[in-house]
Amino acid sequence: MAYSEKLLEHFKHPKNVGTLDKSKKTVGTGLVGAPECGDVMRLQIEVDEETQMIKDAKFKTFGCGSAIASSSLATEWLKGKTIDDALKIDNMAIVEELALPPVKIHCSVLAEDAIKGAIKDYKEKNA
């Protein structure tokens, strides 16, 4: 199976790898997947309280190349978006951007779930 250039670039040089302080009120964390499924994605956002803008995003992913690339791409897209706009990110947009093959679509779903999970966590902290 040949992967797209964009996917390989995100896999070899992933963007925004790291960890944000999850105890901070401004940080939301989404942890999705399970080790026994071969995929665990952790995506974190840091939100500017005044503007509701995502000012930082980090990820770590245990999984195949497509899962890693999907989460790397998601963090890039999240930065600079408001949380409302971030909620509109659709997994199919990730599929298209990285040209994911059909067997890898679940990786993009996982990334969408991780985004939603991070935002949900942030909202719950600030409810």
Binding site: Y3, K12, L31, A34, E36, C37, R42, G65
Partner: protein, 406 residues
């Protein structure tokens, strides 16, 4: 160092030895006969070549040449042995015993046999991948006609106690069949010495061509027969119809002869390189687990799990240069990790984290040095990215985490 295209997936298939290719070439054009043409020199020449190959294989296995049935490969040989015995011995019983870690060619043949009214026991293996002999003996009933246990496992390289299994079969009057695909030509595989009555193998795992294999069928004490699974001209003593693949048969014969003459030295060289590869990785990386018995193992294989790293992603870090395979099945639609590793009692997570490294005749020490470095770097890269590696390092009990399984 610029090493390109390192092939460490010899359990998937081996490159054809150039000496084998050379032996085969005349049989495509210059000697074009059908081995079944009995009335002209073209046919005689082809038949002579087939007989010569049969002798080469018989010598490797220490059996009579008449006991070799040529097929299209190990899958066909497995099908023929299992279904052929099931049909031929239907009056004696309908029960077959095999292992959970067998190749799909055996397991799926057994599934088909169950649909045909047979009963099959799929025995679990021990943590080291080896059959529990007491459990095997206990599984035998008065309906048992056949025990099918592979000589060496394709994923782990684990070698089963063939002699002991053979003794159990002998004691209970049960036929013993073995899928020896991964073992023939690489370690001594003498069926008569260990009490194997049927043995399947193929050319392309022993530096011969693809598309040709064989089944050893014991002719005396006991005289074993299998019902043919293809109807036609009654070739191969009526057990396998179909025009013989003469170039392929010449190839597997040549491969068998090279294997017989060079196996001892090659096994020594490869186990040295394999040990170097395994030790190199284990010394550079924490949390590596060797899967399956190291003591009873093929000389050229190691199967290692790198904790908290997903195997397919790991392969992507170096698959431009190095070909290996993984027990993680993220590519298949099922997403199920290797059933062989699961049968060894590995958790899903360790099964997803495994690589199978299988060396071969053409593997060099330089390639092994390069592979140690590249694989270790890949594991580091993946661990730097892995949230569960981070959690593990922080002392989080991963079993206590409530995962959002998908």
């Amino acid at each position: 160092m610029a090493v390109k295209s390192i092939y460490l997936d010899n359990n998937a298939t081996t490159p054809c030895d150039p000496r084998v290719v050379e032996a085969m070439i005349p049989y495509f054009h210059n000697i074009p006969g059908n081995a079944a043409s009995r009335n002209h020199p073209f046919g005689w020449a082809a038949e002579e070549a087939v007989d010569y190959s049969r002798d080469q294989i018989a010598k490797l296995l220490d059996v009579d040449a008449k006991e070799i049935i040529f097929t299209s490969g190990a899958t066909e040989s497995d099908n023929l042995a299992l279904k052929g015995v099931f049909e031929m011995y239907a009056r004696k019983g309908n029960h077959i015993i095999t292992l959970e870690t067998e190749h799909k060619a055996v397991l799926d043949s057994c599934k088909k046999i169950e649909k045909m009214g047979g009963e099959v026991t799929y025995l679990p293996v021990q943590r080291n991948g080896i059959v529990d002999l007491a459990a095997l003996e206990a599984a035998i009933t008065d309906k048992t006609i056949l025990i099918s246990i592979m000589w060496a496992n394709n994923e782990t390289g684990v070698i089963q106690p063939m002699k002991e299994i053979g003794a159990i079969c002998e004691k209970h009057g049960v036929l013993f069949m073995s899928d020896a695909t991964q073992a023939v030509g690489k370690i001594p595989t003498h069926p008569k010495e260990v009490g194997v009555h049927l043995m399947a193998f193929t050319g392309h795992k022993m530096y011969g061509p693809k598309g040709v294999g064989a089944l050893f069928v014991n002719r005396k004490n006991p005289r074993v027969k299998v019902t043919s699974q293809m109807d036609g001209g009654g070739h191969e003593r009526g057990m396998r119809s179909g025009t013989l693949n003469v170039p392929g048969i010449v190839g597997i014969g040549a491969a068998a002869e090279i294997g017989r003459l060079e196996m001892a030295e090659e096994a020594k060289r490869l186990s040295g390189l394999r040990d170097k590869l395994q030790a190199g990785l284990v010394s550079k990386l924490e949390e590596c687990y060797i899967n399956g018995s190291e003591e009873h193992r093929m000389p050229h294989v190691t199967n290692i799990s790198f904790k908290h790293v997903e195997g397919e992603g790991l392969m992507m870090t170096f698959n431009q240069d190095i070909a290996v395979s993984s027990g993680s099945a993220c590519t298949s639609a099922s997403l199920e990790p290797s059933y062989v590793l699961m049968a060894l009692g590995l958790g899903d997570d360790l099964a997803h984290s495994s690589l199978r490294l299988s060396l071969g005749r053409f593997t060099t020490e330089e390639e092994i040095d390069y592979a140690i470095d590249a694989i270790a770097k890949g594991v580091q890269h993946m661990r730097d990215l892995s949230p569960i590696w981070e959690m593990y390092k922080e002392g989080v009990d991963l079993d206590a985490v409530e995962w959002a399984a998908h």
